[in-house]
Subunit: 337 residues, 4 copies
């Protein structure tokens, strides 16, 4: 239920409304829009007489939030959410560039790539220390050692850090090193993990599951937000289709659809989305033209020897060239890099 | 098999090679690349000693065409194919705009829309006279009457015409009125129809099937080309995925993939691809940023009363605005409208 | 709209009702259920005052047929439709076995297989003379020569014939040789072809498209039935999924679902459905356990040398053994072979 | 790598072989087949000279395990694995019936259903205490209270217990109450959870992910087995397809395919697989006809008031009737209930 308060409702009245709704057994979340407080009440709505609530002091109206996702919906929060991390304002008019290797492999690798992507214009460094691998026998990441290297390399070049957390027990560890906690596609519906990052004091980058609908994705964001963490960045990274030529099928339709349904920022990962180096740039350009708030791209200075995802990693100079093209396309859609 | 002739091989020698291959029971197709004749020989290749052929006078080399599609492959024909119709050079540096209503509904409608799209920069008018409808009880199109109106409206504003042919028996009729014969997604593997348009003296716009792989699509192009018609334009129009919010999922990955695998031009239909009016422009921009050779877009001056596909049709002024944006993005990728 | 007449309504009154509905611009189809005439009226229903119709002499009630498919729905025709061809009563308590090679390849092959499958209990012989092939360079079938062989082989062993028709122009030819006209999966939405077989005086076996929903499939049946041919047999033959180990994914869920939604018989093709010889028998058993009305199975005496689909063809002795198992399972579900 | 020892190799020699392989940095797993010890060695195989190993005392041969899953493959372990829990021998000639409510809702519900399913022939009781729900606002299960009720109800009627574990931190708790730890479809690739149950001393029922290939599913089993727990039961529970009439599409093809690729038992969940009560029995019968080792079925005595999945739950008497049909079909495929 969306409860809209009147302009100028005193804070004391707002608090009173919130506590009355809480006492009715509902969870409440507040936001503001054009100076007016808005409250989302979720839970067993049948216990409350909403026509009565609409007549409470300070209340302008009470109406159902019709979509199954409530806090993630534009109906609750009409303005774009901006998630700020370091120099990146994700969801603003800035196209945010996140770049780095698939996995952190060592000090030289981490620093070389950090420097290259920072120079090209990236503000966030990506890099995996814990890798979800289909086979138990594949390289699983360097673990905490990798996180330390990632943090140091990013700090050396003024970059924020995004890295994947694979399990609810890992959240405190990841939160120590990363600025943004990444939830991988395979864990999009790992609800225990979503709950845990929902209690963390860090933004969350939530990748779309391989075969998820947009509604299921937004409901996973809702799982995080329902715990109190509203700093969620959605990340489209390709869905599974019948096509075998590409690794996945990057679904750019999701960009304008998410922009309509939700206030959350959406970034696009063309590296996993197509999985072929020379298709990354066209799809990155297309993502920005479609309205994405940012890109997350795999860059490696020596992809032939990368321990994971080499074939889809850009060379640093390709990334630099891509950023130039993005700059111009950003202008067409009223954005900037 | 690809047989490459030497630079400067006289035509008489080339003809001799062609007829010797034909006598071996093979079908042969020729093209030229950088002044050198190239021959694709298809059929039962085991009947020929290819090492021997490589030693024939005029032959520079003979090597397998490894992909299942041969004539459609870049290996056979390295340069981009350009299909020219009226003022449109599809596959050149020009981004070709095809626009018009889903169905031709009457004279006023056809002329009003033709004028609007021509003014905005379209060079080809689209419009259905025979409509493939899931239900036998839905509007099936005006038939030949619709074709006549479409032709007259297009002619009045200097536009070429593309319209769908649904059956092998309809090809002569469609060829009388249309400049480009459109094969719909549902007929992508209607091989009798592909064979028939393969004999027609008109370019063919081949829509991708709803659940087709890119390889199957190119093999359907091959069915047409094997009959002698090499004027094939591929059209990505959205694939079926699990998403229910959009009508289909426009697969822009197909654009750079087709560009690598084939020399055929590829245009994108964002109207069917997403099926929601306000998502058409973002996806059209993205298509051009991804490298598409053109767009085919549904435009209707009164979409609320359209007999088919109203909800996905742009208003003429939206189309005009979109063309402006496309102009700038085209420049980024070295193209022009 | 479904118009139910009263028990004992004289034929003259029924005819009067039909002609009044026709005069209102509707197409009408009649059936009978428990001695009562039922009329499906399709077309522009808004032109008729249905409350008024409900009061016409002889009319018991008039109610909407809510599903998009009308004639194919159980609401119109509550009893199971039985399609009788030779000794086969498809849709009755008999599990009908259709078997034979993928393609007719020659006289010995056709007669050898016909004899084997007839002995094992098949009543219908399958065999392709016109083959839809993804590649234009693959074996396309023997054409009319193949049809002649198929007919002679089937006749020699008392079998009926089912064979695929690929194009609207081929219908008269196929109708000359085959007892059942097969529409392949790729042509499920070839509406010109559906219309043509809708006018033929032969039962139609309509395969489900690779990525079709059950509703789309039943709407394709409706395209046939709307032309007057109600002898439609549905055939589940596997859908496309992400699985690569099997050729397709046989969807047995479709069996109980179709049985609820429609009165049309449904047979299952496990050969194309899985595409691997040793998986055909388990899936055939499962199909009967799920309630299928019959099976269509590829059998070849020398599958290693088959010109198409060898790897999924059963040896005659495997087919014989399978029929034994089917007999027992049929009893569990109240059927017989 | 598969290292096969000679018949009669003394245990001391076998241990020596195992420790030499371990010293080469490999993980080793042993099994026996027809009296011969077999060793799977996994890890960096390049460090070992396998031709040399083949000449070691006691070694009969060393050959690559070609599939990406090793311990789960039939090549490593040719005989069927039987997982024994209470009176259930899953993977033997017994068709094991697991039944119970979707969620444990209270004492009366748990005991009523336990009694009913035990009487009908079930040997394992299913029931969720922690429920993965797409929406954070849906009923999430009774938690440990639910587990206690489930355990008591099952014990009262001599049933074993299977219940879902949603997070790595929950494994010890679940292991206290359940005999079989269930991994849900959404967690099939939650590798931290798989690792944790890989260390538990309980069998694991691993549901197939909604859009997983069979290979990915077996690789998830491999994640568990690589930790030392070889008691894995696979559970097919429906995949996502384009069909909207059913909740999911139960993929029975997976049954014979898994039986070929792996020695692990496979049970089928038709309740989630189709999601419609009256389609559960046909698909359950089909599953057994296709060769499944067991069924897991939702049964509820008052499904209209169930807190989750009511519409797909069988009434106890429907379950009883189904078990009768299963008995007969089991005989056809050489099994028994």
């Amino acid at each position: 239920m969306l409860v809209r308060l009147k302009l100028g409702t005193p804070e004391s009245v707002a608090r009173d409304i919130l506590s009355r709704l809480r006492m009715a057994g509902l969870a409440v979340h507040r936001t503001a829009h054009e100076g007016r407080i808005r409250i989302a009440a979720v839970g067993d709505l049948s216990a409350v007489d909403w026509a009565e609530v609409a007549r409470w002091e300070g209340v302008d109206g009470a109406e159902p939030l019709k979509r199954p996702f409530k806090l993630a919906s534009r109906a609750f929060h009409p303005h774009d959410t901006i998630v700020s991390v370091g120099r990146a304002d994700i969801g603003s008019d800035q196209i945010v560039l996140m770049a780095g290797p698939c996995s952190i492999e060592g000090e030289t690798q981490a620093f070389t790539i950090a420097e290259a992507v920072a120079r090209a214009g990236a503000t966030v460094m990506r890099g995996g220390a814990y890798k979800p691998r289909t086979s138990p026998y594949a390289f699983q990441g360097l673990g905490e050692e990798g996180l330390k290297l990632l943090r140091r390399a990013a700090d050396a070049f003024g970059l924020a850090v995004v890295s994947e957390v694979m399990d609810s027990q890992q959240v405190p560890l990841l939160a120590r090193y990363a600025d943004i906690l990444q939830i991988g596609a395979r864990n999009m519906q790992n609800y225990a993990l979503l709950r845990e990052v929902g209690h963390a004091d860090k933004p969350v980058l939530l990748k779309r599951g391989l075969a998820s609908t947009i509604e299921e994705w937004l409901l996973s964001a809702e799982h995080i937000m329902a715990q109190g963490n509203s700093q969620v960045i959605l990340c489209e990274r390709g869905i599974r289709t019948f096509e075998t030529y590409t690794r996945n099928t990057l679904d750019l339709n999701a960009v304008p659809v998410v922009k309509e349904l939700s206030h959350l920022p959406i970034v696009v990962d063309p590296s996993h989305g197509v999985g072929i180096r020379d298709k990354v740039a066209p799809m990155a350009r297309a993502a920005v033209a479609a309205g994405a708030d940012g890109l997350i791209i795999e860059v490696h200075h020596d992809p032939d020897r990368a321990l994971s995802d080499g074939p889809q990693s850009l060379y640093p100079e390709q990334f630099t060239e891509l950023v130039q093209q993005i700059r111009t396309i950003a202008e067409v859609v009223g954005r900037r890099v």
